[in-house]
């Protein structure tokens, strides 16, 4: 993403200050005053600046204007104010958007304008009498890290499309910009492939209801695009692939018990040509379905015991001169896979094991650091990865599926992603991080309250200045932000005792 498109400028020619403290994440530069201006919903409009590169017809912004109008004022009918009352005050009647570089139809396009609208919406507040106000405010903002991601796992539990779309909404509210879709894993294969339809037919929990059709995927990608969010899809191999097996006979390694196949299967079989033919076809499809430049190829937690048990694999190891080092076999597989994916003009992200196991990868590979302690602490791992000149993504301290009693968001919040030994060049290689919500114990019944507002802590860490670390300041704003989420209909859980004007109501 181009750096220049990532900052935005919010200058309210006529503007006010009480609500500014409700901003989340905190902007890079803000100046606010007590001078406040009323906003009358029926008069208010979003406008394009005459010299803006984006103009009416830019669907991303046209739709965002409509969305934020509803978020700000609700979809009620607003009475015209009494003219007498109106004359006394200078009102705010428009937000003028000026976009420097066009890109309405591009993918991560106009993220900055979107983020600007979100910030604007967080500045507007309502008096007890019901009048909307905004304080005179000047904001200049840009994210600290370009990759601010959130991982959902749709394999351990299937998440209905509405849960995913709802998550994308809240991601936009907190300025996340990457949806890492851990689509498939051992337990189920919900992605409906048109080249290999048997994968879902045999590998999903229920091939009629627990799948993502091509239409569903398109909808997620477009919904995300309209919110300035990239969709980074993960098809994890060679491990974590049990669910691929039933729909792709011969793909997984048959495990042996002594000299007999045991009937169970291990990771993807790396010694067969058919495996790579399958992967070529499959990833050709995936590359065309998912428009983002990057694919996540997984590569974590490969269990070698099944490979070890299989005599054909033992032969292959000998032939290749791998000795007993199954990491070399893993490398062999990953390298072949990476070549396939590169040929489709895609970049890739992998879990840290690929780096730890010394797989030779392209220099532009992104390594996602997820292990907290072993083999080394995650800070050490960041140091090693960047020292080898790879770009890094941090997730290790942000496994939000792990829950504990009390305000555990604080621990998440206080992580400093660049607190490792390294040169400025190394630090620059950390492109961001991801909050991960693995699905062993999470489905649509508990996803939202478990994710929000806890993921908000990660969002601010990745967006705001390194210096924004005061927990008291953050608690207040995050509590306000969670009330704002409730107002917007999001089932975000409380941080501590207290209340919101508008509580969550069961439907």
């Amino acid at each position: 993403m181009a750096g220049s498109a990532l900052w935005f400028f919010l200058l309210l020619a006529a503007a006010l200050a009480g609500r500014a403290t409700a901003l989340w994440p905190w902007p890079q530069y803000i100046q606010t005053s007590d001078l406040r201006y009323p906003i009358f919903p029926h008069n208010f409009q979003f406008q394009y600046h005459v010299s803006s590169a984006a103009q009416p017809g830019c669907s991303v912004l046209d739709e965002a204007f409509q969305r934020y109008r509803d978020l700000l004022f609700g979809s009620d009918f607003w009475h015209r104010p009494d003219p007498a009352e109106k004359q006394h005050t200078l009102e705010i009647n428009s937000l003028v958007i000026h976009v420097a570089t066009p890109g309405c139809d591009q993918l991560p396009s106009l993220e900055s304008a979107e983020n600007c609208l979100e910030t604007f919406s967080q500045l507007v507040w309502r008096s007890p009498e019901g009048t909307f106000f905004i304080n005179k405010t000047e904001i200049e903002d840009f994210p600290r890290f370009p990759h601010r991601g959130l991982l959902l796992d749709t394999s351990r539990h299937y998440l209905p499309l509405s849960s995913i779309l709802n998550t994308l909404d809240v991601m936009a509210y907190s300025k996340f910009n990457v949806f890492h879709w851990h689509m498939v894993d051992d337990p189920s294969f919900p992605y409906e492939s048109f080249t290999f339809p048997e994968l879902t037919r045999k590998g999903s929990y229920n091939p009629a209801t627990h799948i993502y059709t091509a239409q569903d995927v398109k909808e997620v990608i477009e919904y995300a695009r309209l919110r300035g969010i990239r969709v980074l899809v993960e098809f994890d191999t060679p491990g974590h692939t049990q669910s691929w097996g039933p729909g792709a006979p011969g793909l997984l390694t048959p495990c042996y018990s002594g000299s007999q196949p045991s009937g169970t299967f291990g990771p993807v079989n790396p010694i067969l040509n058919s495996t790579y033919e399958f992967m070529s076809t499959f990833f050709l499809e995936v590359s065309s379905v998912f428009p983002d430049f990057y694919l996540h190829l997984g590569g974590d937690e490969v269990d070698f015991s099944c490979w070890k048990s299989n005599p054909d694999i033992q032969d292959f190891m000998k032939k290749k001169g791998f000795g007993n080092d199954f990491k070399k076999l893993e490398s062999f597989y990953i390298q072949t896979l990476l070549d396939i994916v590169s040929a489709y003009g895609k970049g890739y992200v992998v879990w840290q094991e690929v780096f730890d196991n010394k797989v030779k990868v392209r220099p532009d590979t992104i390594i996602q650091v997820w292990r907290e302690e072993a083999p080394v602490s995650y800070m050490k791992e960041l140091e090693l990865v960047t020292n080898a000149s790879f770009r890094a993504l941090l997730s290790a301290p942000w496994y939000l599926n792990h829950i504990t009693y009390g305000p555990d968001w604080e621990k998440v919040y206080m992580v400093e992603p660049l607190a490792f030994d390294g040169t400025p060049e190394q630090k620059a290689l950390v492109i961001g991080g991801e909050a991960c919500m693995w699905g062993e114990y999470v489905d649509s019944t508990n996803l939202v309250p478990r994710l929000w507002p806890r993921a908000g802590a990660v969002a601010e860490r990745l967006w705001s200045s390194k210096l924004v670390t005061n927990l008291d300041f953050a608690s207040k704003r995050l509590a306000d932000f969670r009330c704002e989420l409730l107002r917007r209909g999001i089932q975000a859980q409380p941080l501590n005792v207290g209340y919101c004007e508008q509580e969550f109501e069961e439907t």
């Binding site: 351990r156 539990h157 299937y158 209905p160 509405s162 849960s163 709802n166 337990p187 189920s188 929990y205 229920n206 209801t209 627990h210 599926n401 792990h402 829950i403 504990t404 009693y405 009390g406 305000p407 699905g439 062993e440 114990y441 999470v442 489905d443 649509s444 019944t445 508990n446 939202v448 309250p449 478990r450 409730l486 089932q491 975000a492 859980q493 409380p494 941080l495 501590n496 005792v497 207290g498 209340y499 004007e501 509580e503 969550f504 109501e505 069961e506």
Partner: protein, 534 residues
């Protein structure tokens, strides 16, 4: 839903009804019955039900009839639970070789108690005989009918053709403990009435029978008192964060219709900060040296006005809440503020309490007990009241909540002859990663040193969901199905203990809750046929 085979062909020829005495190993066969009934006999013979024909009604021998609201409402509710949430497939008739179950007839044997409120000695036993074409549910009182309807609904499943199916069965059931409660806390966070009602629904699915409503605490006073309206006017989070008399009535009636008692807790003399805002001079002014610090402590135990206030207040409570018991709290009283106050020091001297502030606490609690007796109610208190040697009247129930050595505490309390409620191992607000329900499930409430007479004094327990970090956004998935583990522990036989078997049944049960609109969280990786849709 998956149907498992029976594997007991040897008995097939003997009886149409095949007797299987709840062997733990194969209990998972029981279609996710939760909590597991006392005795279940099931036959492999299948009956089918058709939504168009099936009917739940009163048996002619029943003492209850169509004028019994509690049953009429339950019949309608359970018809919906059984059929309403499925898409009805009208499958090909030929696939339905099984005979039809046309009716469930309900027979109440003794005086039905249709218009009564449930109480601690309410008879919840029932027997259920499922045989074509008419099944019979028999119970002494309506309370047993409610439990039996829940069990009946849990027996029905859809086969792979979509046909509603039930095995011929014979079930005899009654609870192990009479008090099976859920504590909700509406003071740390206000819970909308809808959330409370939804919780009552889920409680009925798990055969809980007591809603312990920890209604007020330091943080807020949402209970709208008729006698002292300022308490909630000033002490609630906001004027929309209150329970009006009508809200309270709705909760009590909704609970009654499900055989659930509502026990309100008005915790004093500690945990009472929010009372102070709307009731001047009720709380103790704390001192800093010789001057008042501006902060307040527990309720002021030395003023006559305190007791006249409490008399009026609890007189109101005793009429608003029909249950015989009121929970008086009494936990975690901090003495610093009392210690700092010169008037209290003087009073201590006068009474000869020395510097033992426990004696002052006892003095307060005793006076409170007297007030409660005057309004003819029974009391429940947290364990500190017992620990601090308050002279309790016989019959006061002591709730054990401190985790350390709770078995010893149970021994001590029952040795003195007082009834006990166990909560210590069941604080569900303490969350952790993974399957913590197993921990709750493995608790044995009678696992303490004591005579068999002492053991009979354990009247049950409560799963507590304190509200510091819980509100309407996360209450349901945090409570269910974790509280279900406590539900079975308090209902089923002591020897129903296999967590592997429980896992299988509970997985089915949680999907059933989800289908019925309760967002119960998953136990582990997997899926339900009907996912919760947000």
């Amino acid at each position: 839903m998956e149907q498992r085979g029976w594997g007991l062909p040897r008995l097939l020829g003997l009886l149409a009804l095949l007797a299987v005495q709840v062997p733990r190993s194969s209990a998972s066969s029981y279609m996710g019955l939760w909590p597991l009934p006392l005795s279940v006999e099931m036959s492999p013979r299948l009956l089918r039900l058709s939504p168009e024909n099936f009917h739940i009604g009163h048996d002619s021998s029943s003492t209850a009839g169509p004028s019994c609201t509690i049953l009429q409402e339950a019949f309608r509710r359970y018809y919906d639970y059984i059929f309403g949430f499925y898409k009805w497939h009208r499958g090909p008739a030929k696939s339905h070789a099984a005979p039809e179950l046309e009716q469930l007839l309900v027979s109440v044997v003794l005086d039905s108690q249709c218009n009564a409120f449930p109480n601690v000695s309410s008879d919840e036993s029932y027997s259920l005989l499922v045989k074509g074409p008419v099944a019979i549910l028999k119970a002494n009182r309506v309370w047993g009918v409610l439990r039996g309807l829940e069990t009946f609904s849990q027996l029905i499943y859809q086969d792979s053709y979509g046909t509603f199916t039930i095995n011929e069965s014979n079930i005899v059931d009654s609870p192990r403990f009479p008090h099976r409660g859920i504590l909700i806390d509406t003071a740390r966070h206000y819970l909308p009435v809808k959330t409370i009602l939804k919780t009552l629904d889920a409680m009925a699915f798990n055969k809980f029978n007591v809603l312990h409503w920890h209604i007020v605490d330091d943080q807020s006073f949402p209970y709208q008192s008729i006698t002292f309206p300022q308490l909630s006017n000033k002490g609630s989070y906001s004027l929309s964060h209150v329970y009006t008399p009508n809200d309270v009535r709705i909760v009590i009636e909704y609970a009654r219709l499900r055989g659930i008692r509502v026990i309100p807790e008005f915790d004093t003399p500690g945990h009472a900060q929010s009372w102070g805002k709307g009731q001047k001079d009720l709380l103790t002014p704390c001192y800093h040296g010789h001057t008042q610090s501006g902060t307040f402590g527990p309720i002021n135990p030395i003023l006559n006005t305190t007791y006249s206030f409490l008399s009026k207040f609890f007189n109101e409570i005793s009429t608003v809440f029909p249950d015989h018991f009121i929970h008086l709290g009494g936990d975690e009283v901090e003495f610093q503020c009392w210690e700092s106050n010169p008037d209290i020091q003087k009073f201590m001297q006068q009474k000869g309490f020395g510097t033992d502030f426990k004696k002052l606490e006892v003095f307060y609690i005793q006076k409170l007990f007297n007030i409660i007796s005057t309004v003819n109610k029974g009391s429940i208190v947290w364990q500190e009241v017992f620990d601090n040697n308050v002279k309790l009247q016989p019959g006061v129930v002591v709730q054990v909540w401190k985790y350390g050595d709770y078995a010893k505490e149970q021994s001590r309390v029952t040795a003195e002859g007082f009834p006990v409620l166990l909560s210590a191992p069941w604080y569900l607000d303490y969350i952790s990663y993974g399957q913590d329900w197993v921990k709750y499930y493995n608790v044995e409430p009678l696992d303490f040193d004591g005579t068999s007479k002492q053991k009979t004094l354990v009247i049950g327990g409560e799963a507590c969901l304190w509200g510091e970090y819980v509100d309407a956004t996360n209450l349901t998935p945090r409570l269910w199905p974790r509280a279900s583990a406590v539900g079975e522990r308090l209902w089923s036989r002591q020897d129903v203990r296999s967590s592997q078997d429980a896992y299988k049944r509970l997985t089915v049960h949680r999907c059933r809750m989800v289908r019925r609109g309760v967002a119960a969280e998953p136990l582990f990786t997997g899926y339900c046929n009907h996912e919760d849709r947000v």
